[in-house]
Every structure is written in structure tokens, then in C-alpha cells.
Assembly symmetry: C2
Homo-oligomer: 410 residues x 2
């Protein structure tokens, strides 16, 4: 059963903003096992929109249409669709009352143009999330049409709450979905695919989607069926089977970024953290402090870009720098120990490396990175050679440092 997506908005065909809605819908539909055969983006001219709509109805069983439902003159979707489908455009009085109430609550004065928001094609069902922008759905012959607002947040809400369950239920005669998206790091797309193809649990009735998300890979698993409790159980089995195979490269659910996982582990163990960053230049601190409440466990850090900073602020012995160099296991260890002592933290994490494009040598090429990790019990170091441009090496170094910390804390 094929469908398609029509995204309207002049900002899309002038390249002013990147498309969010079509990609979101395409991805969610694909995860649910529903196939989108094409995506069309166009401006706000009724004739072309109507041509695309007619064509879509002729070749697809479902259409998702986004944008053009607002109160201004160039919001043509509802009227143009009604005309194409041979339906009257009617004012939905219940919807109008709801809009008026909503404006009142937000202290926005009434204007006549808002009345346009309540005009929908005859027979359409209003998709009303309560308090946010509405959409509507229609059946035309054998095709289902879903009209959604163009603001990504509003579109997403309606898509997840109405469109996807409705389509899944329709196609599967009452089926529902159970989905999980997982975050993996340190394992390639090919390796993940190999694991999946090997696992018997994944062979039947499971849809998987693999999304590169540098430097991580995200894996979505979707089950479709009617017995939700049994499906939830099955999902738990699937995730457990996968975890068995991919081990520590499985970070957890996609909702929780690595810096949040690390924070949760630190909080659970009552440990504080300080970081010493050389080639990452502050990126690790930036990521850790993106998490609300991180001040409970993150004390701070030193960005020791110069050798003087490594000696003065982190107490790295000048002999170590002279003999081993700023990018060495010994310096990484001294930085981790130093920052732990200076901040009186439980854990000290350090990174020193060559992000490039210059500064490399035959023994220490660009991409050489050392990570140091000092805890009350242990001191460890790790050595990597990363490939990529300057920013990629920084991103990989910060990610690897946080991941080493996660593995030690587990």
C-alpha cells in the first residue's frame, strides 16, 4: 500500500529553510512498515497544488499534506483541496468556538482572518489536539487524506497522535505499533546490519531502520500487531537479544544522549567530575552542561590549550611535557590526575590530541588522541587514531572520552 507526502510552503522551494515535516513523516511511516513512494514540495499556488493532489489521489492510497492551513491569504490548502475533491468549504462552528477560546486564553485580540482557520471541506474530520493548531482528515474513494499544519512541532504532534495510529489501524485492520529507537556508538552500520541478520528474533514481523547520526548510529525497531502486552514483551526480548550481541556499544534509548547517561551514572554513585580538555577545546564541558541539573555532579574543567596551562593549572610536570610531548599517555594521565586534584573532584577526565590540519608528525599523525581517566581507585589511559577533519576529530574525541567514562562508571 503506497502513499505520498505533499509539503507546501514557499520557504521550501526557495531553499530558505530545510524541510522537517516530510522527512519526519517519511521516517515514521517507513518505521511503521508503510511505504512512501514520493514526496512533493511546492509553493502556495493553487493550480499546481491541485494538479499534485489529483495525481496523488490517482496513484496513492494515503496522502499526508502539510502547510497552508493558517489564517493568511496565501494559506490556500483547505479551499484548493475542497475544490479539487468537489466538496463544499464549510465553517465548523465547534472549531470556531474553540479557536476563539484559545485566542482569548493567550490574550490575542480577535481578527476576522482567524475565521479562515475554521473553514474545512464538507465531511472532513477535525484533528484537534486541544490547545494547538488543528488539522483534518478526509476519505476520497479509496484514498485517505490527512491535512496537517506546517509548523513542525504542531505537525509532529498531530502526526503521532492521529495520522500514524489511524493508518496503522486501517492497514492492519486494527493493528497497533510498538517502537523503540536505540543509540549505539563504536559499532559500524555494516556490523549492526550483520548482527540483525544473524539474530533469529529479528527475522519475522520486525521492521528495523538504521540512521547514521555522527558519531553514533541510531537503530529503530518496530513491531506491528494487535496484542500490545505481548508485543511489549517481544520488544523487550528483541532489545535483550541485540544487547547480548552488541554489548557495551549499546548506549540506550535515543531519548537519552551520552552526556545524560554519564550524568545519571555519576549522580547515582554520588561522584563529582572535572575535565581537562586540550584538543576538544571545551566541547566535553559544553556537552555535559547541556544537561539540566549537571551542576550537581559537574564541577568544571580546564581548557589547557597551551603547555603553560597544562603546567600551571593542571600541574603536569614540565619533564613529562618535554620528554613525552603534550600529546602522550603520560600527559593525559597527568592532566586527569591534575584536574581531579585541583577541582577536588572524585573523577578526572582528560583529552589531549592533534585535531589538525597541521601539527601531525610520522610518529603522531593528525588524529592521534590520548584520553586519561582518574578515579579514587584507578588511573587509566586510552590511545586512538581518528580520521576526518578538525571538527570531526574533536567530536570523536569528546564522544570517546565520555564513552570511556560511561564504561568505567557502569
Amino acid at each position: 500500500m503506497l502513499g505520498e507526502i505533499i509539503a507546501t510552503g514557499t520557504e521550501l522551494i526557495t531553499g530558505r529553510v530545510a524541510d522537517f515535516n516530510a522527512r519526519y513523516a517519511a521516517r515514521r511511516l517507513h518505521e511503521a512498515g508503510l511505504e512512501v513512494q514520493c514526496i512533493t514540495m511546492l509553493g502556495d499556488r493553487a493550480p499546481l497544488f491541485q494538479e499534485v493532489l489529483r495525481l496523488g489521489i490517482s496513484r496513492s492510497r494515503f496522502l499526508i499534506i502539510t502547510g497552508g492551513l493558517g489564517p493568511t491569504e496565501d494559506d490556500i490548502t483547505a479551499a484548493a483541496a475542497a475544490e479539487t475533491l468537489g466538496l463544499k468549504l464549510l465553517r465548523d462552528e465547534a472549531l470556531l468556538a474553540r479557536i476563539k477560546k484559545c485566542l482569548e486564553e493567550r490574550q490575542i485580540p480577535w481578527e476576522e482572518r482567524y475565521a479562515r482557520l475554521a473553514l474545512i471541506p464538507q465531511g472532513a474530520m477535525v484533528l484537534d489536539p486541544g490547545g494547538a493548531a488543528c488539522g483534518f482528515s478526509l476519505k476520497h474513494n479509496d484514498t485517505r487524506l490527512y491535512f496537517l499544519p506546517g509548523v513542525p512541532r504542531e505537525m509532529q504532534l498531530l502526526f503521532d497522535h492521529y495520522v500514524l495510529p489511524s493508518l496503522v489501524g486501517w492497514c492492519g485492520a486494527g493493528a497497533c505499533l510498538v517502537q523503540r529507537t536505540l543509540r549505539l556508538f563504536g559499532i559500524s552500520e555494516t556490523q549492526i546490519q550483520e548482527v540483525i541478520s544473524r539474530l533469529a528474533e529479528f527475522q519475522q514481523g520486525v521492521t528495523v531502520g538504521l540512521y547514521p547520526n555522527f558519531p553514533e548510529n541510531h537503530l529503530s525497531i518496530t513491531l506491528r500487531g494487535k496484542d500490545r502486552p505481548a508485543m511489549e514483551e517481544n520488544m523487550a526480548r528483541l532489545v535483550a537479544a541485540l544487547a547480548q550481541e552488541v554489548g557495551d556499544t549499546l548506549l540506550g534509548p535515543a531519548e537519552t544522549p551520552l552526556e545524560d547517561l554519564v550524568g545519571q551514572l555519576l549522580r547515582a554513585k554520588g561522584l563529582s567530575l572535572a575535565v581537562a580538555e586540550s584538543c576538544t577545546g571545551g566541547l566535553i564541558g559544553h556537552r555535559l552542561t547541556n544537561i539540566a541539573g549537571s551542576s550537581d555532579y559537574f564541577l568544571g574543567g580546564v581548557i589547557s590549550y597551551s603547555n603553560e596551562a597544562k603546567m600551571d593549572l593542571l600541574r603536569v610536570p614540565p619533564e613529562t611535557l618535554a620528554r613525552r610531548g603534550a600529546v602522550s599517555a603520560e600527559t593525559a594521565v597527568a592532566m586527569a590526575r591534575g584536574v581531579r586534584a585541583v577541582f577536588r573532584a572524585d573523577v578526572g577526565l582528560s583529552v589531549t590530541g592533534i585535531a589538525g590540519p597541521t601539527g601531525g608528525s610520522p610518529e603522531k599523525p593528525v588524529g592521534t588522541v590520548y584520553i586519561g581517566l582518574a578515579t579514587p581507585q584507578t588511573v587509566e589511559w586510552f590511545h586512538y587514531l581518528f580520521h576526518g577533519g578538525r571538527e570531526e576529530i574533536k567530536v570523536l574525541s569528546a564522544q570517546m572520552a565520555l564513552d570511556r567514562l560511561r564504561r568505567v562508571l557502569k
Copy 2:
């Protein structure tokens, strides 16, 4: 003269990757004054591709088609297009020789499937950038068709070198383009639009495009004509007139990020910099160190997330913290002075603030931010109240701190 874009690739209609090519082409065409009426994305099935192609030819004067030119079975573009247009698919011997040479140079062993890369419709002109993937162009009745590879880097190269000049020359009977994209910060989209609409210089023959790029706005200015030297002069006049109006909010060309501008100013003046970051958590250091060669002027910094770090590492007097609080002008000034002294830097830059979502109070709500700036001559502080989520407040704080530094250095 209307055109359209057809982007092929299963990864697009499953939402696996975000579209780059269509948006890039749409934006560049819009900037050049050429209008795209729709963008279609579809997979690798020949019948639908051919239907879209036929429709495109019937309603558009130019078509940009991306993807499906590779050596694998599902690369159907050339063959499907030839069939639709009633053309033979021929082997281009010169192109084949070039491909063989290219593979040899990269030490990739020859495989028979690479021969597919040299199959193009009869009468097509090969677009060969030398050393990278090729495309081809065709005329069909009154419509021009450009077939480009799907890899964004390769597509972009061919688009800029062949497609855009060819289309601009064709439409304008030999015209060429002069373009500039500028970076602005501290001025809203509406304000920029007002300035543009007021300036007489911008009233005729100038295409402007405004692209929000949080926290900046980017403005592209395009001139089309035949006398390139005169157009370059006119562009200089336009930019000067704009600069006069928008003043210091004009950062410079889009190619140069703010952290690079700041670095260039520091380098030119022979000054070194150290940063003390509280609510930005390392983001300023991260941005500064994204610039290759930043170690010439950036000595490092302290991420002083805890009060202890502010006292121990930055020498902020305990009384200041006790009396004025960690988020205050006095603390910002002490942090800037402290980090300047500790790193023996010429300039010390500090940020302290409340990124939220908690930690605010009636006197110091979430978004309250103080910036401190200590130079050999002066000590200044700045106070802001930013709105947004935690990450937005961090981004705005870092941007504002770097911008204050830029203004002081200028």
C-alpha cells in the same frame, strides 16, 4: 521561467537521511532569480521516475535531476531518462577512458559494472569536473535537463560550475551573476527587511534572500548582468550602503564564522586570549578551537561551574560571591580579570549566567547573563536577559561574548 528539481534515492523517501541536494539547488537558483515551482523526491523505480520526468518536461523550462548515476543495478536514471526522451543509451568512449584512468590512479581494481558510468543518452553533453563524478545535460524541445550525481559534494561542484552559469547565461542571454552572502548578528529579520526596503540601492535588479541561522541571520545579495566589473563595483556599493545602516551588526562574509573573525583580530593585534566560562560550560572554547591555528592566540580557559572553581582557579573573592552572587557583574569582572592573570593572557573573557530551566529568581530570572571583558587597558561588563531553552541561552551567551570581544578588538 519556471523550473523544478527531482531528487532520487530511497534514503530520501524513507527519511533515512535529510535532503541536501534539492535544498541546495533551490536556494542557489532562487538567489540567481530563477524560480523553482516544485521539488519531487522519489526512490529508484523507473515507472514513477519516468512519470515525474514527463510531467516536469511538460510544465517546466529546466529540470535538475540528482542521484541514480552510480554503477549499481538500482542506478536507473540514465537509462530511464533515455527511454522517456526517446533517445538511445550510448557508451561515451572518452568518458569510459577517463573513468578507467581515475580508478587506476586511486588503485581501485576495474569491475565490469563501472562501464555503466559511461552510458549516457545520445546527444547529451558530459559535465566532467575532472577527477570527480560526472553528470550530463540535455536539451529536449524547450526544456533543459541537468543530471547530477547524488553525493552532495559532487552535486554541489557540478551545480556551481556548470548548471548555474549555464542557466543564468541562457535566461539572461549571456548574463552572469555576482553574489555575496553576509552574516549579521544582533538585528532581527524584520529589521533587516526594513533596512533593505529603505535603501534606494536595493530597489532595482537586486535579489536578496534572508536565511535565519540561529543566532545569526544570513543575507544573500545577487546581481545579474553582463558587465562583471561594473557589477562587482555595484556590489561593493550595495554592501557599503547596507553596512552604513546596520552598523556593527554586520559581521562579514558568510564564509567566516564569528570565532574566526575574533581570531583574525587577535592575530592581527598580536594579542592572546583566555576564557572563563560558567553557564556556557566550554562552548566558547569549543568554538574558538574549531578554527585551525587557534593555538596561536587562544591559551585556554577555565570552566568554572562550581563556586569553588571560581574562587580557587579564577581568584574570585569569596566576599564577591557571597555578597553579589555567582551571577553578577562583579563576579563576571573578577572572572575575566582572574582568567587573564592565571593564563598570563592579554585578554580575559568571562560569562556567568542562569541557563535554566531552574535556578532563576524574581531578581535574576532564567536567561540572566553577565559578560566580563578584561584587556591590558580596560575592564568592562555587559548584562543581558535572554529568552529560550537551556541550549539556546548557552548559544546566545557564547555568541554575545564573542561578539563583545569582536567589537572591543575592532
